[in-house]
Symmetry: C3
Subunit: 144 residues, 3 copies
């Protein structure tokens, strides 16, 4: 029988390592192909590197940029980019950073001429490590 | 080649303005049509008006009703309604408002004879503006 | 006309009761079938029983196990299992429990030989009842 659901993990090991390497059972992202349509579920992504080390402790702006880079790398590994993102969920450790967050996001999306913008939500939340100030998860939809 | 993914932003400018008007790069919602099936991603929606002004500071019940109205308007702009909602995510600034929230939601859904109810989650979270007491995001699935 | 979207609520009444029984208008989960493809939206699920009573107050590990069991029961009612889960969202009342959470999740997924792991996010959040220490929502994709 033809497989109509094809699932695989999304990874970008040059940018961020696999959570299982530090004993966490989730994938950086999961792609699910239903025929020609792919749903890409990007996990909560933060400012870490390819060793799983947190980068830019105390520097919200740099953490945000790194988070966007990490997500870009995950998308790229599936042949996708930010134009394919339909929704983001943004978590800030301190909502006082919201203005800076938006400045960086505005510039990042503008550079890519993103249109329409994704749907989004942003809430304040403590994240899995105290030094992480921002985390973003996303859903992208692509065609093969 | 035939376009198999059609994306556009969802807006209801008579009820709530576009985030980009106050320098936020997201859409009020994004519709993604895959053939005849439409996935509607409704962004985190709160009690604001068509100028982007927060309404009903300090009045949780009125904020909740306005939030439902705003989402209804966004759905309507796509020819959809609450019967098409498959999932909501509800954020309350203070979980002590959960009982009031449920009373309003019960009445709102009952009036529409909603059945089955959407899947849902509700957590406490600080939102992007201090005066906002409730925010809801949603996913709807429709056929053209 | 042939119905191309078939929606129904997901329930597992032997494990957890319906929210409407305690006056909450949401379903434990909602399944949406688009032809042969089913999207299962599992609501925020916590450590409660078939009477809606919270179980294991103060015992994070037992709450986590019960939460996984409740979700398993909801999936099973649709002929699905954890291999069909594509994304989880995990809410911990206290992020200091994250290590214990991961230990239990690792063991749970390993026992089922889960591969690839779902996409996931985990944030700290106060939940709808003060005694609930963990809540998980999930999306599964299945074929009929």
């Amino acid at each position: 029988m033809k497989k109509i659901i094809l699932k695989k993990s999304i990874s970008a090991p040059r940018f961020l390592n696999e959570p299982i390497e530090y004993n966490k059972s989730f994938s950086r992202g999961l792609s699910v192909y239903l025929g020609k349509i792919g749903l890409l579920f990007i996990s909560g992504t933060a400012s870490i590197n390819n060793k799983g080390i947190s980068l830019y402790a105390g520097d919200f702006a740099s953490q945000t940029r790194r988070t966007f880079e990490n997500i870009s790398a995950l998308l790229k590994s599936e042949g996708a980019n930010w134009h394919d993102i339909v929704q983001t969920r943004c978590y800030l450790r301190d909502m006082r950073d919201y203005k800076v967050f938006n400045g960086i996001r505005n510039a990042f999306y503008k550079k890519q001429n993103l249109k329409p913008f994704p749907a989004s939500v942003c809430i304040q939340a403590n994240l899995c490590r105290a030094e992480l100030l921002v985390e973003i998860e996303a859903i992208a939809i692509v065609k093969k």
